[in-house]
């Protein structure tokens, strides 16, 4: 906006500003008092009505109203009931704030008349806003801002009406965008779209008029307006498409020989009877999503169990390259020559080294390498020592199986320097 425009907010310590704020505070004080601190808006409504009765009497007769009782009687005559607000208290407050003068009659002061006028205009304005449905309020408010712009800006005040009108329009089209289907369904879409676009046009006209009058509007607001209007037009286009589809759907439905109401009623009647499921069974052509069972590999199953039970699973253990299965100087376990007679601890160490961990569970290794499993099982079964005799028994089968299944729980294999190996609790 032009710098020459007056702005109230820029004034510091001016007497006019102080008086303006004092008036506002008085008005607020009156509103606060009449509505019991905002708790009883209806009392405020009656209070405004009482002040308007005083004003009306002045307009008609040039005199005031006959004090408290006269005011109450006028109210009762006009609205058919007693006012909800305490008339005496109201007059006291108004008197304290210099809104009225009390003599033989009660009259509005010029300050009271001015503040009541403002109050009444606010009431009318907000009533107009709240009478609109929630779908229409934003566009109404934008329109109102534009209408009010002239009232202030023609007097040289910077009221920021145009940016505020634009902000409301932007909110309006966003609202239209997000609730487009609702608007279409309510039959309000076309009205809203045309009101929205008309308001954009009006705003542009207002800006053009300001330019003609010599006001130089800043570039950002013009750019913002153009961007916003383009977006609103896109939304309007989508809205019109939706309206068309909506109407086409309705027309198609109306043209059908099949009675829609009967169809809907039938669905309602058969909802809980199971009739539709029977019909589906009879027809046999309702396609249902199905899945057939699938199985994983052994390793995946074992991994799953280990994962669920919080145990360590060593997937690489079965593929260890070049692992020497025995450290026996006399022979190899996997060649089954049974020609050694020694403690298997070095063998466990060897496994751990090959696996690359310092500690593991026996089960994760046993499942992968049967020959290790046999050696370890036997080792545990005989107290960590393997003798030729025990291995011969193991090779024989049955006895070995007995021993094998007597193992309790899982075994923890650990490095020699830690705790060697032992049974898990």
């Amino acid at each position: 906006m032009d710098d020459t425009t007056r702005t109230v907010l820029g004034e510091e310590g001016s007497a006019a500003v102080d008086k303006t704020m004092a008036d506002l505070a008085d008005l607020a004080s009156f509103v606060n008092s009449a509505s019991d601190g905002g708790q009883s808006p209806r009392k405020l409504f009656d209070a405004v009505r009482l002040l308007l009765i005083i004003q009306e009497a002045e307009f008609r007769t040039g005199t005031g109203v006959g004090r408290q009782q006269g005011l109450r009687n006028r109210f009762r005559e006009q609205y058919g009931r007693d006012p909800m607000v305490d008339v005496g208290g109201l007059l006291g407050t108004a008197d304290r704030l210099s809104l009225i003068s009390r003599d033989w009659t009660v009259q509005l002061t010029s300050k009271g008349s001015r503040l009541l006028g403002t109050l009444f205009r606010v009431i009318l304005d907000w009533h107009g806003f709240h009478q609109k449905s929630d779908l229409e309020q934003l566009i109404y408010q934008s329109q109102r801002e534009l209408e009010m712009a002239d009232a202030y800006e023609n007097y040289g005040y910077q009221a920021d009406s145009l940016p505020r009108a634009l902000a409301f329009l932007e909110r309006g089209y966003r609202d239209l965008q997000s609730r487009l289907r609702e608007y279409i369904l309510e039959g309000l879409a076309m009205d809203q779209i045309s009101a929205l676009i008309a308001n954009y046009d009006r705003l542009q006209e207002a800006i053009a008029a300001k330019r003609v009058e010599g006001y130089e509007l800043t570039l950002p607001i013009i750019e913002r307006l153009e961007r916003s209007k383009a977006a609103a037009l896109r939304t309007a286009y989508e809205g019109m498409e939706g309206v068309l589809a909506h109407s086409t759907g309705r027309v198609r439905a109306e043209m059908s020989l099949i009675n829609k109401t009967r169809f809907y009623t039938y669905l309602q009647q058969q909802f809980a009877t199971g009739e539709l499921a029977d019909l589906a069974g009879r027809a046999g052509d309702v396609a249902l999503p199905v899945s057939i069972a699938a199985y994983p590999s052994a390793r995946q199953l074992e991994e799953s169990i280990a994962e669920t039970l919080g145990r360590t699973y060593l997937p690489g253990a079965s593929q260890l390259p070049g692992v020497e299965l025995s450290v026996s100087a006399e022979g190899r376990l996997d060649e089954e020559d049974y020609a050694f007679d020694e403690d298997l601890r070095p063998y466990v160490d060897r496994i751990l080294e090959a696996v690359g961990v310092r500690k593991t569970r026996e089960s994760s290794i046993l499942a992968l390498q049967p020959s290790w499993s046999e050696a370890l099982m036997v080792a545990v079964g005989v107290g960590e020592l393997v003798t030729k005799e025990h291995l011969r028994v193991a090779a024989a089968g049955e006895t070995y199986q007995e021993e094998r299944f007597e193992l309790v729980g899982d075994l923890t294999l650990a490095r020699r320097e830690e705790d060697r190996h032992g049974e898990a609790p």
């Binding site: 309705r250 539709l276 069972a293 199985y295 052994a298 995946q300 499942a367 729980g409």
Partner: protein
């Protein structure tokens, strides 16, 4: 000329065949990942020409891919779709078609609220179930939940079913075209619409084998696989050799295998590759529960109670029994276990046993009991107590 196969497409089809661990349809993104292509046109064309299209229909609705099958048996016996769900779906579909608007949940509830005392709750449940099937999709609205029918949903409604519903509601039959127009389903003009094949009307020379295969597929999907005798009655063969040869000739082995468990015939998918691709049809918890259940059934008898398997989860999850219930639910949906309604017991189905047996690499001639004992001692150490010998 021999038909070319695409292993990636076949893998994606296997993923669709065995479903997801969540029970929801496979997402388009997941299929794109398996196929290795963000454009699924080729894959969808492949599915239409693939042998699986004899039994299943692949429906793609922009977000999900669903494999569906039309079967009287499935609808009449173990249908995942209730009459209430069908009523609600038809209402949403028709209302949406009439108004070209998403249907507010309140509108649906209002329509059915007079149908029964608890209609409001039933409608909400039906809507949730339809949403889980992806027959309807929620649309973000400012005033509560709103729904639109999906292509999967409208595509699932067969013409015969729609015609029957219209006939019942109007008191007289209407032509197919009128019915389809009523629901806003477009049909190519000038062409005769061929309704999809169903279980009992497959033409061609090998109809009996196709019927047997459908019977096996549906039976496996519902946890009630047919017996060898039942299959023999359908095929007219004394054994399954002819059926197996027919399945092999069609190339069905690329997608699922026919398996015999006890006296039952099953269709099973070998899913190890899917597990490695992080597409698990059954997750770790449910797999563990199934394996332990098998052990318990073998050594302690069936059915298995919730509290028997609860120790697997004690100290591992906050609510072990809830975990058991969830895992049993997953297994039941996958056809691995069956559970009497309202009771906290369950038992493995032949499908579940065969899946576990196959996972463990057991052959029919193997001593399953002994192998299971050994497996349980290794993997369920600390949880195993054999009743007959008292060893733990």
């Amino acid at each position: 000329m021999a038909r070319r196969h695409n292993p990636r497409y076949d893998l994606a089809l296997r993923a669709l065949l065995c479903g997801t661990s969540s029970g929801r349809p496979t997402t388009r993104a997941r299929v794109e990942q398996l196929v290795g292509d963000s454009d699924l046109d080729g894959f969808l064309a492949y599915t239409r020409s693939c042998v699986l299209s004899r039994y299943f229909t692949v429906v793609e609705d922009g977000h999900y891919l669903t494999l569906s099958l039309a079967s009287r048996e499935l609808l009449q016996e173990d249908s995942p779709v209730s009459g209430e769900m069908l009523a609600v779906f038809l209402f949403i579909w028709k209302w949406h078609q009439d108004n070209a608007m998403p249907v507010a949940q309140g509108t649906v509830v209002e329509h059915f609220v007079g149908a029964s005392r608890s209609a409001s709750r039933s409608v909400r449940r039906a809507i949730d179930q339809l949403a889980a099937l992806k027959w309807i999709d929620e649309v973000t609205g400012t005033q509560g939940r709103t729904w639109v029918p999906t292509r999967s949903g409208t595509g699932a409604m067969g013409q015969r079913f729609l015609a029957l519903v219209v006939e019942s509601s109007q008191g007289r039959p209407f032509s197919t075209r009128e019915v389809l127009d009523f629901f806003g389903v477009s049909t190519p003009s000038g062409s005769t619409h061929v309704p999809p094949l169903t279980l009992f009307d497959t033409p061609a020379g090998h109809a009996r084998y196709d019927r047997a295969l459908r019977r096996i597929i549906v039976g496996t999907a519902t946890g009630r696989p047919p017996t060898l005798a039942a299959v023999a009655r359908i095929t007219g063969d004394p054994d399954t050799t002819g059926l197996a040869q027919y399945a092999a000739t069609l190339g069905l082995d690329r997608f699922f295998r026919l398996a015999v468990h006890d006296r039952y015939l099953l269709a099973l998918v070998e899913a190890s590759e899917l597990y490695s691709q992080n597409v698990a049809p059954v997750r770790a918890t449910a797999l563990t529960l199934a394996a332990y259940t098998w052990y318990l059934e073998e050594f302690h008898g069936r059915p298995v109670r919730y509290d028997q398997v609860e120790p697997l989860f004690v100290d591992r999850v906050a609510k072990p029994l809830r975990q058991v219930a969830l895992a049993v639910g997953v297994l039941a949906r996958r056809g691995w276990v069956k559970q009497p309604r309202g009771r906290k017991v369950f038992s493995l189905t032949p499908t579940g046993r065969e899946c576990l047996g196959r996972a463990l690499g057991l052959r029919p001639q193997d001593d399953h009991r002994e192998a299971l004992r050994e497996f349980a001692e290794i993997h369920f150490a600390g949880f195993c107590v054999h009743e007959e010998d008292g060893h733990s």
